[in-house]
C-alpha cells in the first residue's frame, strides 16, 4: 500500500498540469466559438494559403 505515497502525488501533479492546460486553453479563447470550429475542418484549406499570401505581401 505504501505505493500510494508516490502514485497519488504523481496523479495530483497530473491534475494540476491538466488544470494549467485548461486555463491556458480558456485564456487563448479556444472555447469562444464552439459552433463554428466543429465544421471548419470539413472545408478545404484555401484560407490558410490565402493567409500566407497576404503575409508575404506584407513583408
Amino acid at each position: 500500500m505504501s505505493i500510494i505515497y508516490i502514485l497519488i502525488p504523481i496523479a495530483i501533479i497530473f491534475v494540476f498540469i491538466a488544470i494549467g492546460i485548461f486555463i491556458w486553453a480558456v485564456k487563448t479563447q479556444q472555447f469562444d466559438d464552439l459552433e463554428r470550429h466543429g465544421t471548419s475542418v470539413l472545408f478545404d484549406s484555401e484560407n490558410q494559403t490565402k493567409r500566407k499570401e497576404t503575409n508575404r505581401i506584407d513583408e
Binding site: 491534475v15 480558456v26 466559438d33 465544421t39 472545408f43 497576404t54
Partner: protein, 805 residues
C-alpha cells in the same frame, strides 16, 4: 423535404408557376426567387459550393433587391474617415473593425463569409464567430474600401454593419472565461476527490489508519482550491444580498459550503468524525454548471438582439443650402440644421427652429403623454416626433447619444418579468424559513445527540437548498427567449413570453405587415388642365416630409420637368392627409373622404389618394402593394392554433375586404384611425379577449402599447418598434405562430419545474430534519433536482424550432 417544391437555397416553398434553376454540386437546383438564385450563383461562381454540402441550417430568403439603395448609401457613408474613426482601430493604412452580421445560421455560413472576404483584394484578416454573429475584419484601406467588402457580403445575403457595444462584449467575455476556469478547476478536482472518496468508502475496508489519514489530507488539498476559488461567486452574491438586508439562495449555499469544509478539515486535522470533501466539490461543480448555462443562454439572446435592434438612428436628414441630404449622425456638428420627420427618433439634442409638433419623451422620462414642441424649445435625443416635421438645430451630439443608449440597454436588461420576480420572492421566504428550520434542527439535535447535530444540520442546508426553485422560472424563460430569437423574434420585454401564451385574438395591420408596404403608384388620373409634371411636383412637395408608405410611393414618381415646388405651411393630419400652400394657393392631398370635407368637392372615391385645390379635384392616385409571401401560411397556422385572426387597417374597407377574402380572414375592419383601432382593441379586451397586435406603422403605435402582447415588423417605423413588446427581425409572418407555440411550451415547462422543485424540497425536508439523510445523499439529491430543472428547461420549444426548416 422534396427538392422540386422547395427552394434549394432557403427551403421556402416555390411559388406556383415559377421555374428557375441554378446548377449547384453538379445538379440543377430549383430556386424560389431571383434573389436566392443570384446568391446561389455567386456562391457557385466563386467556387464555394462546399457551403451547401456542409451547412446545417438553411439560408435566409432574399426578397427583393440584394442590396437596396438605402443600404448602399449606408455602406458608402461607412467609408468616410470621420465615421470610421468611431468604430475602427487603425494601424497605418490597416483598419480593423468589429461588425455584427445578420443571416449567419451555422458554421458553413461563417466559412462562406471568411472565404469570400479572403478572396477580396486588401483583406488582411477576417474571423467570424458563429455563436455571437460577429465578424472581426482587418483590411488595407489603401487597396480596398469597406463598402466594397460589405457589398460583397450583401451579395451573399449577409448584412454586416459596425457593432459598437464592444464594452458589453468585453465584460461578458471576461465573465465567461472566469466561469469556465472555475468550472474546470471544480470538475478536475472533484474527479480526483471522488476517487479518494470511493477508496475511503468502498475500496479497502480494513484500510490502515495512517492510509485513511493520508487519503483525507490529499482530499483536503484537492478540495481547497474548489472551496476558495471556484465557489467564490456564491460567497460574493451571498455577501451582496446580506449587505442589502436581503436573503437569496446563495446564503444557505455559502453557509453549507463553509460549514461542511471547516468541519471536514477539523475532522482531518484531529482524525475524528467524517469528511465530505467530495460532496463539497460536486456541489460547487453542479451549481457552477447551472450558472454557466444560464449565463450562456442569456448572453446569446442578448447578442442576437443587440445585432438586430438599433435603438437610435445612425443617419439624420441635414439641410444644406435648402437641399436635404441624408448623413450619418457622426458627421454632423453642433449648429447644423436638421429635418426631423414624423415617426423618427431624435439622434441628438437640439433646439426647434420651426414647426409645431408633439413628441414622445417616454424613453427619457417614462411619461407617455405627448409633449408639444414649438419654436425655441429643446428636444432631446431619444424623443420620437409624432405628427409634424420639425426643423431643428443641433446643440449636443456625443453626451446625449451615449447616455440614452446606455439607459435603454440597462432598462431592457433590468426589466424582469413578473413571474420571475414572483419565484424570486418565494425563494427569499423559502430561504428564511429554511434558515429557521436549520437553526431549530441544530438546537434540537445538539441536546439529543451532539455528535450528529452538525451533520444533520448540514444535510438540511444542502438538501433543501432552493436552487431548483430559483432556477425553475429563469432558466425556462431564458431558453424560451433565446428560442424566440432563433426564429427571428426579439423580445423587448420578458413578459412577452407570458402574454403570448394567453392570446386568443391575433390582430394584423394591413399595409407593411401582411403586405410588403413597398407601395408603388400604379396609375395617376388627371382631372384638371394643369400640366401633368406640375401636378406630380405639387404632390411631391406636399408629401416630401411624410414617412407614410403612400407618401413614399408618390415621392418615388418622376417629375420629368425640373420644376421645384416650394410648399409652405405644411400640416400633417395623422392618418388622413396633408395640406399646404404652394405659389399662394392651398392644396390638399390625402384620403378621398377627408379631402372632400376639406375642399368641398366631390371625389371619385375609387382613388386611394386625391390631390385637390379649393373647389377642384386635380388628380387621383392609385397604388399597388404586394402580399408578403408567407402571409396565407401564417394566417392558416394562426387558425390551426384555434386563434381568431383579425384584420384592422386604416385603409379603405374595399381594399381591406379584398385582402381578407384572399387570406380567408372573417373579421376585417377598414377605415380605422389610430383612435378607432385603439377603441376596438379596448372593447375586445373588455370582453375578456387577449389581443396580440402585429403592426409596423406610426398609426399602430398606440394599439401596439394597448394590446396584451404586440410584435412590430423590423422594417417598420421607430415608434412601432418602441411601442411593441417584441420585434420580428426577419419579417417572416410564420414566426408568429411559432412564437406563440414557444411561449406556450415555456409556460408549461415553468409549471413543471416549479411543481418538481417545490415537491422535491417539501419531500426531502422531513427526511433531512429527522437525520435519515447523510450529507452526500443530500448533495446528490440537490444537484440532480437542479439539473433536472435545467435540462427540462432546455426542452422549451425544441420541437417548434426543429420543425422550422
Amino acid at each position: 423535404m422534396s427538392q422540386s417544391k422547395h427552394c434549394y437555397h432557403c427551403h421556402e416553398p416555390i411559388p406556383d408557376g415559377f421555374t428557375l434553376n441554378v446548377e449547384v454540386l453538379n445538379a440543377p437546383r430549383s430556386m424560389c426567387c431571383l434573389g436566392c438564385a443570384a446568391v446561389a450563383e455567386s456562391i457557385v461562381d466563386s467556387g464555394l459550393s462546399d457551403y451547401y454540402r456542409h451547412r446545417t441550417d438553411v439560408a435566409l430568403k432574399i426578397e427583393g433587391e440584394l442590396i437596396p439603395d438605402a443600404l448602399k448609401t449606408q455602406f458608402s457613408q461607412l467609408d468616410i474617415d470621420d465615421v470610421q474613426r468611431e468604430f475602427c482601430t487603425s494601424e497605418g493604412a490597416e483598419r480593423e473593425a468589429l461588425l455584427s452580421i445578420d443571416g449567419v445560421k451555422c458554421g458553413a455560413c461563417a466559412w462562406l463569409i471568411e472565404t469570400t472576404l479572403y478572396k477580396q483584394v486588401g483583406v488582411v484578416k477576417a474571423t467570424v464567430n458563429a455563436s455571437t454573429h460577429r465578424l472581426l475584419l482587418r483590411w488595407h484601406n489603401d487597396t480596398t474600401q469597406l463598402s466594397t467588402l460589405l457589398s460583397a457580403l450583401a451579395r451573399l445575403g449577409y448584412q454586416a454593419l459596425p457593432y459598437d457595444s464592444e464594452h458589453e462584449d468585453q465584460r461578458y467575455k471576461h465573465q465567461k472565461q472566469n466561469y469556465l476556469i472555475r468550472l474546470g478547476v471544480a470538475a478536475l478536482a472533484s474527479m480526483q476527490v471522488m476517487m479518494f472518496a470511493v477508496a475511503l468508502y468502498f475500496g479497502v475496508v480494513d484500510m490502515e489508519p495512517q492510509h485513511v489519514a493520508y487519503m483525507r489530507w490529499v482530499s483536503l488539498l484537492m478540495a481547497t482550491p474548489v472551496i476558495i476559488y471556484s465557489a467564490l461567486p456564491f460567497y460574493q452574491n451571498a455577501l451582496i444580498a446580506l449587505r442589502s438586508g436581503q436573503l437569496n439562495m446563495d446564503v444557505p449555499v455559502s453557509l453549507a459550503l463553509v460549514v461542511a469544509y471547516v468541519a471536514s478539515a477539523w475532522a482531518t486535522l484531529y482524525e475524528t468524525g467524517e469528511v465530505y470533501f467530495e460532496s463539497i466539490s460536486m456541489f460547487v461543480f453542479f451549481l457552477l454548471l447551472g450558472r454557466y448555462f444560464e449565463l450562456m443562454a442569456r448572453y446569446k439572446a442578448n447578442a442576437k438582439s443587440a445585432n438586430a435592434v438599433k435603438l437610435l438612428p445612425a443617419v439624420v436628414h441635414r439641410r444644406v443650402d435648402g437641399r436635404l441630404e441624408t448623413v450619418p449622425v457622426k458627421s454632423i456638428t453642433v449648429g447644423d440644421t436638421l429635418l426631423l420627420k414624423p415617426g423618427e427618433t431624435m439622434a441628438v439634442d437640439a433646439i426647434v427652429l420651426s414647426g409645431d409638433s408633439h413628441v414622445d419623451l417616454s424613453v427619457l422620462t417614462g411619461e407617455h403623454l405627448p409633449i408639444r414642441m414649438a419654436t425655441g424649445e429643446t428636444i432631446y435625443a431619444g424623443a420620437i416626433n409624432l405628427d409634424q416635421p420639425l426643423e431643428i438645430q443641433v446643440t449636443e451630439i456625443k453626451e446625449t447619444l451615449v447616455a440614452s443608449i446606455v439607459r435603454l440597454q440597462e432598462q431592457a436588461l433590468a426589466e424582469r418579468s413578473a413571474s420571475v420576480s414572483f419565484a424570486d420572492s418565494i425563494a427569499r421566504y423559502f430561504v428564511l424559513a429554511l434558515l429557521i428550520i436549520a437553526v431549530s434542527t441544530a438546537l434540537f439535535w445538539w441536546f439529543q445527540s451532539p455528535d450528529d447535530a452538525l451533520w444533520i444540520t448540514l444535510a438540511v442546508l444542502v438538501a433543501t437548498c432552493p436552487c431548483a426553485l430559483s432556477l425553475a422560472t429563469p432558466t425556462a424563460m431564458t431558453v424560451g427567449l433565446s428560442r424566440l430569437s432563433e426564429i427571428g423574434v426579439i423580445a423587448r420585454r420578458a413578459d412577452l413570453l407570458n402574454e403570448l401564451a394567453k392570446v386568443d385574438t391575433v390582430v394584423f395591420d394591413k399595409t407593411g405587415t401582411l403586405t410588403h408596404g413597398k407601395t408603388t403608384v400604379s396609375d395617376v388620373t388627371y382631372y384638371s388642365q394643369i400640366e401633368h409634371a406640375k401636378v406630380i411636383a405639387i404632390a411631391k412637395a406636399l408629401e416630401q416630409a411624410s414617412t407614410h408608405p403612400l407618401a413614399h410611393a408618390i415621392n418615388q414618381l418622376d417629375s420629368e420637368q425640373n420644376w421645384q415646388s416650394c410648399a409652405t405651411d405644411i400640416q400633417h393630419v395623422e392618418g388622413l392627409g396633408i395640406y399646404g400652400t404652394i405659389d399662394g394657393s392651398k392644396f390638399v392631398i390625402g384620403g378621398a373622404a377627408w379631402v372632400e370635407t376639406m375642399c368641398h368637392v366631390s371625389c371619385d372615391t375609387q382613388h386611394r389618394v386625391v390631390l385637390a385645390q379649393q373647389g377642384q379635384v386635380i388628380a387621383g392616385f392609385d397604388f399597388k402593394d404586394s402580399l408578403r409571401g408567407d402571409a396565407p401560411q401564417a394566417i392558416e397556422q394562426v387558425k390551426m392554433l384555434s386563434l381568431t385572426p383579425v384584420l384592422l387597417s386604416g385603409d379603405q374597407q374595399r381594399h381591406v375586404d379584398a385582402l381578407a377574402h384572399t387570406l380567408s380572414i372573417e373579421t376585417a375592419l377598414g377605415d380605422r384611425t389610430p383612435q378607432t383601432k385603439l377603441d376596438w382593441v379596448r372593447e375586445s379586451q373588455r370582453l375578456h379577449k387577449k389581443v396580440l397586435m402585429i403592426g409596423d406603422g406610426i398609426n399602430d403605435g398606440p394599439v401596439l402599447s394597448q394590446a396584451n402582447a404586440s410584435l412590430a415588423i423590423a422594417d417598420g417605423t421607430d415608434i412601432a418598434k418602441r411601442s411593441a413588446d417584441g420585434v420580428l427581425v426577419n419579417p417572416k409572418l410564420v414566426s408568429i405562430s411559432k412564437a406563440i407555440q414557444i411561449s406556450k411550451s415555456t409556460q408549461s415547462i415553468i409549471k413543471q419545474n416549479l411543481a418538481w422543485a417545490l415537491g422535491y424540497n417539501v419531500l426531502v425536508l422531513p427526511l433531512a430534519v429527522s437525520g435519515l439523510l447523510p450529507p452526500y445523499i443530500a448533495v446528490i439529491g440537490m444537484s440532480s433536482s437542479s439539473l433536472i430543472v435545467v435540462v427540462n428547461a432546455l426542452r422549451v420549444g425544441r420541437k417548434t424550432v426543429a420543425t422550422q426548416s
